[in-house]
């Protein structure tokens, strides 16, 4: 789904090192230059710890560990790392869910960056309304400020109906009320807030209500997971950008009759898997996004 934003700039990214292929969300780029508040964060998503299907990922026991090592090997460490859900693969067994949460937390604990933020995916929280997830990773929706940007983390998975719910929507409106309408805002969600492809559950049933609230602000970007691939979409002036997964890729929306993980390609191991860094220029209101493979190469 092309929204007109394209990878178009080779930028030397301070903090990541080397010349990298980055895409700039250029619609904010004509604002004043800012340097003091520049920083970058890493987005990791959909590690599906516990997934076991050798035809899809014969290396599932070490894929996340490789991604963590790659983040650790960046020349500079991110201000924080954000996991946008589905840390674990779903299980109907509560004890097994707990075991997977414990294991994935230990693996993530190997990150050099110590500010690590979490949110659930439906695989983590959809069966027990997030009870076990909260025990290990804390709150499922929250907000924080970092170097001039207001971040909002929304939970659109712990209600199995794929909704945010009225209480969270009211919380969102209340949280944003205190901000200037031109304040930069980054929203993290697991599912897309818009109707990307409802036939595959790639939507949030009441996501339109959240977008309505966000539309009252002029500088909003949404980073999400769930679909295990990059995708860019605009709703009005709001950009929505999904991330690669770190366990198995999924096909492009509607490209095959039945949604199923893309089989492993021995000629191109880890193809379609990775993580991203997002260099944020708060004063410029611009974000330079760089996609990495699981093994740490920049995706060109």
């Amino acid at each position: 789904m092309n929204n007109g934003m394209q990878r178009r700039d080779f930028l030397k990214m301070a903090g990541v090192g080397g010349v990298v292929f980055a895409s700039r969300l250029g619609f904010w780029a004509d604002a004043a230059m800012g340097e003091l508040d520049d920083f970058f964060f890493v987005q990791l998503s959909d590690s599906h710890w516990g997934f076991n299907n050798p035809g899809v990922n014969p290396d599932s026991a070490v894929t996340l560990k490789k991604a963590i090592a790659s983040v650790n090997s960046l020349d500079h460490q991110p201000d924080f790392v954000m996991f946008t859900g589905d840390l674990t693969h779903v299980t109907d067994d509560d004890a097994e869910r707990r075991k997977r949460m414990k294991e994935v937390k230990e693996i993530i604990g190997e990150l050099k960056a110590k500010d690590i933020k979490f949110m659930p995916g439906e695989h983590d929280a959809g069966l027990d309304e997030g009870k076990v997830f909260k025990e290990f990773f804390g709150e499922m929706h929250y907000a924080f400020d970092h170097k001039g940007i207001h971040f909002v983390v929304l939970d659109n998975v712990s209600d199995a109906r794929s909704i945010l719910g009225n209480a969270q929507l009211e919380w969102l409106a209340d949280d944003l009320k205190k901000l200037d309408k031109n304040a930069p805002i980054i929203v993290f969600t697991h599912r897309p807030l818009f109707d990307l492809y409802p036939e595959w559950d790639w939507f949030t049933r009441d996501g339109g209500k959240a977008i309505e609230v966000l539309m009252q602000h002029t500088k909003v970007a949404v980073f999400y997971g769930h679909i295990h691939q990059e995708n860019q979409h605009m709703t009005g002036h709001i950009t929505h950008r999904s991330a690669q997964g770190s366990m198995y890729p999924l096909p492009a929306p509607g490209s095959v009759p039945v949604k199923a993980p893309v089989p492993w390609d021995p000629a191109k191991p880890y193809k379609g898997l990775g993580f991203r860094s997002v260099e944020a220029k708060a004063k410029e209101h611009a974000y330079n996004v760089t996609e990495f493979t699981i093994t740490g190469e920049v995706v060109k």
């Binding site: 109907d92 069966l127 199995a160 109906r161 794929s162 409802p198 036939e199 559950d201 199923a260």
Partner: protein
């Protein structure tokens, strides 16, 4: 006096005839509907998972969950309902186009959620 009684009698007969004709028309309309179709949902299947309907004929789907919350979403016919355990979840609609329309569970229900699917076939 007699004439008043006659009038009352005629009015009563008229009311009875009116009510009877109303229920009669209702019954005829009801016959045009397809009988309700009962569908059970459980982890991770619908039974039946293939439903044949006739275009233009109103139908009621009656869903019952045998375990946890499920969903029914048929994007091609633009119909959906939650399937909440402990109650009959009714969905009344009239298919307006012929064809085969896949449906699936759209309330995350566990390890086999992605495979909980079926199809509605609407004939001319």
């Amino acid at each position: 006096m007699r004439s008043r009684k006659t009038m009352l009698l005629l009015a009563s007969v008229a009311i009875v005839v009116f009510i009877a004709s109303f229920f009669g028309a209702w019954a005829v309309a009801d016959e045009a509907k397809q009988a309700p179709i009962k569908i059970t949902a459980k982890m991770f299947e619908y039974s039946p998972n293939e439903i044949t309907l006739k275009k233009g004929v109103p139908v009621v789907l009656e869903f019952t969950s045998l375990d946890r919350l499920h969903g029914f979403f048929c994007p091609g016919l633009e119909i959906r309902t939650d399937i909440t355990p402990g109650k009959v979840n009714r969905l009344e609609f009239t298919p307006q186009k012929a064809g085969t329309f896949p449906f699936h569970c759209d309330n995350f229900c566990g390890t086999g959620h992605e495979k909980m699917t079926g199809k509605i076939i609407v004939t001319e």
